[in-house]
């Protein structure tokens, strides 16, 4: 039976069964693998794997540079009489590039590079016109959501995603990898400086499980919580619900310990 996190010296310590640690560790590696597959497709993976220092780095502060983004207008060209805008959809919904061509799934598409066919130049000038489509997997899309709502200018979500996704995803991968390593110890000891990253890794695991369990509303969440006690339910649903409940408990327990200390 697991025991909640409590502050011990400069760390937070919880007691998990070997099976519990192993399961949560596997979940961390599963979510990490999802993000790795995405990064391989988008060509983002090389830098942070080559640089182990990235593991202890803080979440991205976003300083991707402003690069005179005002001119972006590229999006305006293709819209207007297109069928998707009639339906209130943006190119974000369709994964289209600025010319209305279908993007390969999960692809990073560099409009500027495609036009000038030379990206080895100064590196940054093309940045403000880069576009990237939202992940096709809804669980990945939940981990890496758009930065703007559906009412934003067409193409804005893809432009911002191209600028920011590599950093966000790298920080998530680092936090999940670290969580996987921490979960291999017994008892589970999370150093204070790692606690926010550990909490966000647990949160990402929960976001993925929640998507697989179809949790969209508070009612869905209540339904899943009832599923935990209902072993008549389909085996996989029941199992996922138990995992979701356990990781939720673990994260809440860390929050309780952290917030008590920070009051």
């Amino acid at each position: 039976m697991a025991r909640a996190f409590r502050p011990v010296g400069g760390a937070y310590v919880a007691q998990l069964d070997a099976a519990e640690s192993r399961l949560v560790g596997e979940l961390a590696r599963d979510v990490l693998q999802m993000l790795r597959s995405r990064a391989e497709l988008t060509g983002d993976l090389v830098p942070d794997d080559a640089d182990p220092a990235g593991v202890v780095g803080p979440p991205p502060a976003g300083g991707t540079g402003s690069a005179g983004a005002e001119s972006s207008g590229g999006a305006a060209g293709a819209t207007g009489e297109d069928w998707w805008s009639e339906l209130g959809l943006s190119t974000a919904d369709l994964g289209l590039d600025a010319d209305g061509q279908l993007l390969p799934d999960n692809a990073a598409y560099d409009v500027e590079a495609a036009r000038t066919a030379g990206e080895d130049g100064a590196g940054t000038p093309g940045v403000s016109t880069r576009r990237r489509a939202r992940p096709a997997d809804p669980a990945l899309a939940r981990l890496l959501p758009d930065l703007v709502g559906a009412d934003a200018d067409p193409g804005e979500a893809e432009r911002l995603r191209a600028l920011t996704e590599p950093g966000i995803a790298a920080a998530k991968r680092a936090a999940l990898a670290e969580a996987g390593e921490l979960l291999a110890q017994n008892p589970l000891r999370v150093p204070a400086e790692s606690a926010p990253r550990f909490a966000s890794a647990l949160n990402d695991i929960r976001l993925v499980l929640a998507q697989r369990l179809g949790i969209e509303t508070e009612e869905d969440a209540a339904r899943v919580s009832r599923l935990e006690d209902d072993d008549e339910e389909a085996e996989l649903e029941h199992y996922l619900a138990l995992l979701y409940g356990f990781v939720s408990w673990l994260q809440e327990s860390l929050m309780t310990a952290l917030l008590r200390r920070r009051r």
Binding site: A192, T217, L259
Partner: protein, 99 residues
């Protein structure tokens, strides 16, 4: 506030830049049924440096109203805030203020 670990990002004044612009950008955090209330409050405290009371108040507003404006400022500043929120796994977007 007693800080036991390094803040992840240097806190900033949430309205510092809005006086430079007539229509600042807004950081909107959205309610979702997955994120724990304690976690949302924790993120507001660690990232923005809000007091416990302020963080809880904003968290409850997100929870009850479905969303809340948590910061405002220049486009670059608010983009960075959205990136940080997404790093933590919160649902957040930016939009320009209606003026």
């Amino acid at each position: 506030m007693t800080v036991t670990s390094e803040p992840l990002v240097v806190p900033h004044e949430d309205t510092a830049l809005s006086s430079h612009q007539e229509r600042p950008y807004l950081l909107i955090v959205w309610d979702d049924p997955v994120n724990l209330m304690s976690y949302v409050s924790f993120v507001f405290r660690s990232y923005f440096g809000f007091s416990a009371e302020r963080a809880d108040e904003l968290m409850l507003r997100v929870h009850h109203d479905g969303h809340a404006v948590v910061a405002s400022g220049s486009k670059e500043r608010i983009e960075a805030d959205v990136v940080a929120m997404h790093g933590y796994g919160l649902q957040a977007t930016l939009r320009r203020s209606e003026g």
